[in-house]
Point group: C2
């Protein structure tokens, strides 16, 4: 199943979001417009705008007020990806050359800043304090999560707890924010807002854990980026943390990380150790727990068809193979 099927109900407004994204990517400086267009064409699932709009379906759905916020969410997401790619020195994302590989790090830093600023430009006429506070908090959180990740590359002492806090800040809080703001703008009651926010958080946690599993199990073509990418960069994910505690070959992996630079052969061997440790099954189990909790939370949604959609999205996130 393609996730886009679950977004049919809001596909008209998602098209408006696309138009908004193109509009806010425009700059007098044509290199900036070029980067923005490149990034937007690379696409992505538009999961954040979609969750936001679906969350607004719980009560009063006003597309004119909603679309700009959806645009802002995706602009922030895109900006953070550009800066992540600078920081990770990534060459490809979603199967396409990254902005940093194509235009260089310096231009990419500015392009990311531009998109962050445009996100706030997109919502300036709405001027709702809760929305501005949520979006700025979101960016601050992501920066904290990313910096913690960066400062801890190749650090084998990281705990599962630290990992979970880091991916919360990097990913889960973002989806929580999308659901929170969508239901808030729809004037849904407090119970619905709280429930959907927790739903978004759980889906986000499962999403990131699944992403980290795919880096261990996936192949380059499916991922749109090289497998073992995290390991090569020294990003210590849940499967690695599990392996470093439970694998008979844990010392070999620890020594490998200690060298802070892995050959392609070592990356392959590392992935082998991780897979053999049962780390994938463990991480998948934890992702499954988050998915189950996400599905419990959506009982706050009254409309049965809508609830079903949230449930299928959660399943999709838990099962996706790319």
């Amino acid at each position: 199943m393609k996730i886009q099927h679950l977004f049919e109900e809001i596909s008209g407004d998602l098209s408006k979001v696309e138009a908004g994204l193109r509009q806010f990517a425009l700059s007098q400086e044509k290199t900036l417009t070029g980067i923005g267009t490149h990034l937007l064409r690379a696409g992505g699932k538009r999961l954040r705008p979609a969750l936001f709009l679906l969350s607004a379906k719980t009560q009063v759905y006003d597309p004119e007020r909603l679309v700009p916020v959806a645009v802002a969410l995706e602009l922030i997401h895109t900006a953070s990806l550009v800066h992540d790619d600078v920081i990770d020195e990534a060459a490809t994302r979603r199967g396409r050359e990254t902005a940093s590989a194509k235009w260089g790090n310096m231009v990419s830093v500015l392009a990311g800043d531009f998109l962050f600023a445009q996100a706030f430009a997109a919502i300036s006429h709405i001027a709702d304090r809760r929305i501005i506070a949520a979006l700025s908090q979101l960016v601050s959180n992501m920066c904290e999560g990313e910096i913690t990740q960066f400062l801890n590359i190749f650090n084998p002492a990281q705990t599962e707890e630290e990992y979970l806090l880091r991916i919360q800040k990097k990913t889960a809080d973002f989806l929580a924010c999308a659901c929170d703001l969508g239901s808030y703008m729809a004037d849904a009651g407090e119970a619905v807002i709280d429930g959907l926010k927790e739903y978004g958080y759980c889906v986000g946690m499962a999403f990131q854990i699944t992403d980290d599993i795919l880096d261990v199990t996936g192949d380059d073509g499916e991922l749109g980026k090289p497998a073992g990418n995290d390991l090569r960069q020294g990003i210590i994910t849940l499967p690695v943390i599990y392996t470093l505690r439970h694998s008979p070959a844990r010392d070999e992996l620890r020594l490998m990380l200690g060298r802070r630079s892995l050959t392609p052969g070592e990356v392959s061997r590392g992935l082998e150790i991780i897979r053999a440790a049962g780390a994938v099954e463990y991480a998948a189990g934890l992702a499954g727990q988050y998915i189950r909790r996400a599905k419990e939370m959506i009982n706050v949604v009254q409309d049965r068809a809508l609830r079903e959609k949230f449930s299928l999205i959660a399943d999709y996130v838990g099962q996706r193979s790319y």
Copy 2:
């Protein structure tokens, strides 16, 4: 004369701005807090918050609403400096080691993002559409100006007109925004707002031209950064543009820039050619014109003592030797 004397009237609120800056530099990630604190200690004249607050003195002055916006202006300024230093690969600024030299580019990118986000967090409770639009526009403009500068390093074909547009986006629009928002929040009439906005623009143009002159005439100790820094990096400033058109040694300078990498000896020789061309006098003349225009604009300010202060600030910017 120290510029701080001109800020006496608002010194109490500038202290509150300092407290606000410290507060918004705090992060759960202590490395981020460390960078923020380092940057804030490096100081600077707080020209943007000061111009903003003084502009609000034209009518209804409400510090409780004003201080957060002043904090946001300085946070945006600081964030842009951090990213500029990454882009320029600068080692020192204001006589202190830059964040990028001390913590590396990757961490500095995230620290800048964090400060940008915190700027919007600082004004979230005010939620005024004009303020949010102005601040986001400001950041977008600065990115455009910086990217144009970056894409044109070592490009001797740049015109004076292109230079002026670039420094408008990089610097003048920022001071214009500070004056604009200050008088807007004070509920000053349209004439006062427009006049002070133009004042800020002119002061900003003079400020940047003077900065570019100082890079040619200054010495390292006074500047807090190496003299000839712009030339070494290939940033084509007004004195260089003038020299490339009018100096008998213009071909020598053009060839030097064409090599895209200057030895210290070449930087010295380049500065010599620029000084001998009368480029400093030409640029100073243009800065003087902006200062004069700035002083004409402040006739919109009714209060004589306040008008005098704006006038002295303009003079200060035109005459500063550091």
